[in-house]
């Protein structure tokens, strides 16, 4: 991929729907992802945001970064609020109480808001089949509250509630496979994406929002603050996550898996881990365990996509 030096800003719309001047940390992968998501969505949209980093950096009374209608209510109910919005628009269109313009409903939350506290509401909304796109911005911990572990935190990562210590390597559980959980609801569209691959990300968002019925996109969002990485390495780390097979890019359309990017050979996970302070304490054995697990999961994904 590095051979293709494409200058992204020249090839996407200049219009910034997620306005500059927000309060994200330097090098925030999530803010970059949101910016690209918004460019892909356009303005005919209603956004529903869970409590979390993006909510906090983009809205502070009386300011806002949102140039589209946007609502935040609570942490765990984002998919339920989106359900109500979708149902409300539907019935009011039917009753002639609003213009019949097709407005897209897009819900977004972090990994905690999605795979932990918001999972029940999300599962309910998927099962009921609401016409909406749900995007999880996964920075692999509760970053907004100060880097506490979530069920999306990877094995071996040190966080403030899974600290590496004399008798602990930090997080001792494996990352919850949220895209697989979404796909298990038999919804028409599931994808993974990363802002280090902007065109892929934007194409998936466009596809997801055009889907009739629920769509889910899981976006890996590098967090220099929580990952203890250099802010200028955000894009590189996203690429390394994909190239090592730690975070493969794929789509699940109507149950069918398809890899978006299949490197001929996976890079060693060490290339990805060594740039992040949260894995600094890991020894060779720990890294070997992670490498084996990544290989195993990747080959399972290849089988599904075969």
């Amino acid at each position: 991929m590095e051979k293709y030096a494409i200058y992204v800003p020249r090839l996407v719309t200049k219009k910034e729907i997620f306005a500059p001047g927000h309060r994200a940390c330097i090098g925030c992968g999530e803010a970059l992802a949101v910016r690209l998501v918004c460019k892909a969505l356009g303005q005919n949209v209603i956004m529903v945001n869970a409590t979390g980093c993006i909510e906090i950096i983009s809205s502070q009374l009386p300011y806002t970064s949102w140039r589209v209608p946007w609502i935040h209510t609570l942490f765990e109910n984002t998919a339920a609020v989106a359900s109500g919005i979708e149902a409300g628009l539907k019935v009011m269109t039917k009753k002639g109480r609003r213009s019949p313009q097709d407005v897209k409903v897009v819900a977004m939350a972090g990994d905690g808001g999605t795979s932990d506290i918001g999972l029940q509401a999300l599962s309910g909304a998927f099962e009921r089949g609401h016409n909406f796109l749900y995007i999880c911005f996964d920075n692999e911990a509760y970053m907004n509250t100060g880097i506490q572990r979530s069920s999306a935190t990877p094995y071996g990562a040190s966080t403030t509630t899974s600290p590496a210590g004399k008798i602990s390597i930090g997080q001792v559980t494996w990352k919850k496979n949220m895209p697989a959980i979404a796909a298990a609801h038999d919804i028409p569209y599931v994808a993974t994406a990363c802002p280090s691959y902007p065109f892929d990300l934007m194409a998936k968002v466009a596809k997801g929002v055009a889907t009739r019925g629920p769509a889910y996109i899981h976006i890996l969002s590098v967090c220099p603050t929580g990952w203890r990485s250099a802010p200028d390495l955000t894009v590189r780390l996203g690429r390394l996550a994909v190239e090592t097979g730690v975070f493969p890019l794929y789509e699940v359309e109507k149950g069918k898996y398809k890899l978006s990017f299949a490197p001929s050979q996976l890079r060693p996970v060490q290339d990805y881990l060594k740039l992040q302070g949260r894995f600094r304490h890991l020894d060779k054995d720990n890294i070997r365990i992670i490498q084996e697990r990544v290989r195993e999961e990747y080959s399972r994904l290849l089988e599904k996509a075969a």
Binding site: A80, K90, V91
Partner: protein, 391 residues
């Protein structure tokens, strides 16, 4: 002209929501609220109500979906009870704080543990301070009248606050009662079409639910408080217009034979009907007793309460909820607070009873009144007395 029909109160409530032409119902089943939401689902399934029915996976999501629907300008209704109301708890604050005029009937139920599906007011008291307008009803007619009024009050541009209509689980929700159901045309004239002033709409983007740092949070809360207190004027206007149109009259505090009464009993909800029987009986025996019924729970009707009880010597308050380790029944402690600075006020005695569906009969109310009078004379070391508890 409205017909008087015999109908289960829960079904009549669903029919009232239909008459109000609700756009979105998001609900999760819980006893004793089920008949309301079942009937609404049936009305939608039969094409009699043109609405989206969202069968959510929890009460937390029920109220959350109501927030979303209300925010795009849909007329939104739900119903719950007991544990369901508690699971909604944090969402209730958001509805009122974001000025989303959701209407909800709460079929009052006791709280676990031990599990009890039966009625009392524990669920209500736990959501007292959520910023909702809260109205108590004592029979089926009052229930449907106030559900209709609730939409008009909630959606008034001067109010834009959510409204709870409280009715007692089983004791009222499952009764078959004679009820005048208004005609559709009468309701259409009474409830104007809903137009939310600033809905989520791509043509005019708004940011809803931004967070507030310390420099602005107090101001938002004070504005909300002023707004809730000011809603009383609209509530009174609404009841007054309802009265002139439908000839049934409501007020924040209602009195029954209280004018010359030295001893007053205060109740909320369906138990007031039984208490009225007791008052009739005791009056016949020449006793100077009367009844005060508290209908408007929030905003609290301070002026009306002070006015209603000022000439009495004893005021006996019956609560159907406990404030563990606290100053007695929650309603009683609010009444005491409202009267504390008054020069002329009755002695106030607190009773708690009717918990978890336990009935209080007409004889029971007589016992409460007699014992209340005794306590007012002798005093009591206890903050409150539990009525009818076996020791």
């Amino acid at each position: 002209m409205a017909k008087r029909i015999g109908i289960e109160v829960s079904l009549a409530i669903a029919d009232a929501a239909k008459l109000a032409d609700v756009d979105v119902v998001a609900a999760y089943p819980i006893t004793p609220q089920t008949h309301i939401v079942e009937h609404l689902a049936e009305l939608v399934a039969n094409g009699e109500l043109d609405a989206q029915y969202i069968p959510v996976e929890s009460e937390h999501s029920a109220m959350s979906a109501c927030l979303g629907a209300s925010a795009v300008g849909a007329r939104t209704f739900t119903a719950t009870a007991g544990q369901g109301l508690e699971l909604m708890h944090e969402v209730l604050y958001v509805a009122s704080s974001m000025r989303l005029p959701v209407v909800m009937t709460v079929v009052n139920r006791a709280l676990s543990a031990p599990l009890s599906v039966w009625g009392d007011h524990s669920d209500v008291m736990a959501v007292r301070d959520t910023g909702w307008i809260q109205i108590f009803v004592e029979n089926g007619q009052e229930a449907i009248d106030n559900v209709l009024c609730a939409f008009r009050i909630a959606e008034d541009e001067k109010v834009l606050l959510p409204v709870m209509v409280h009715l007692d689980g089983f004791h009222l929700s499952h009764m078959i009662e004679p009820i005048y159901m208004p005609e559709q045309s009468e309701v259409d004239q009474f409830i104007p079409p809903y137009k939310y002033p600033l809905p989520l709409n791509p043509d005019k983007p708004v940011t809803m639910g931004a967070f507030a740092p310390p420099i602005i949070y107090s101001e938002t809360k004070m504005a909300q408080e002023i707004n809730l207190r000011a809603s009383k004027k609209v509530i009174l206007q609404c009841w007054s217009e309802f009265g002139s149109r439908f000839k049934r009259h409501y007020s924040p505090v209602e009195s029954y034979h209280s004018e010359d009464a030295k001893v007053l009993l205060l109740t909320m909800g369906s138990f007031s009907e039984t208490a009225m029987t007791t008052i009739d009986r005791m009056r016949k025996e020449g006793r100077e007793v009367g009844l005060i019924k508290l209908r408007l729970w929030r905003p609290f009707p301070f002026k009306e309460i002070r006015q209603a009880v000022k000439d009495a010597e004893v005021l006996i308050v019956l609560d159907r909820a406990l404030s563990f380790g606290g100053p007695g029944g929650p309603v009683c402690s609010e009444i005491k607070a409202a009267l504390y600075n008054e020069d002329k006020k009755p002695k106030v005695v607190s009773f708690v009873g009717g918990l978890g569906g336990r009935d209080i009969t007409a004889d029971g109310f007589e016992e409460i009144i007699n014992r209340g009078i005794e306590i007012s004379q002798t005093g009591s070391e206890q903050e409150f007395e539990m009525f009818g508890v076996r020791e």
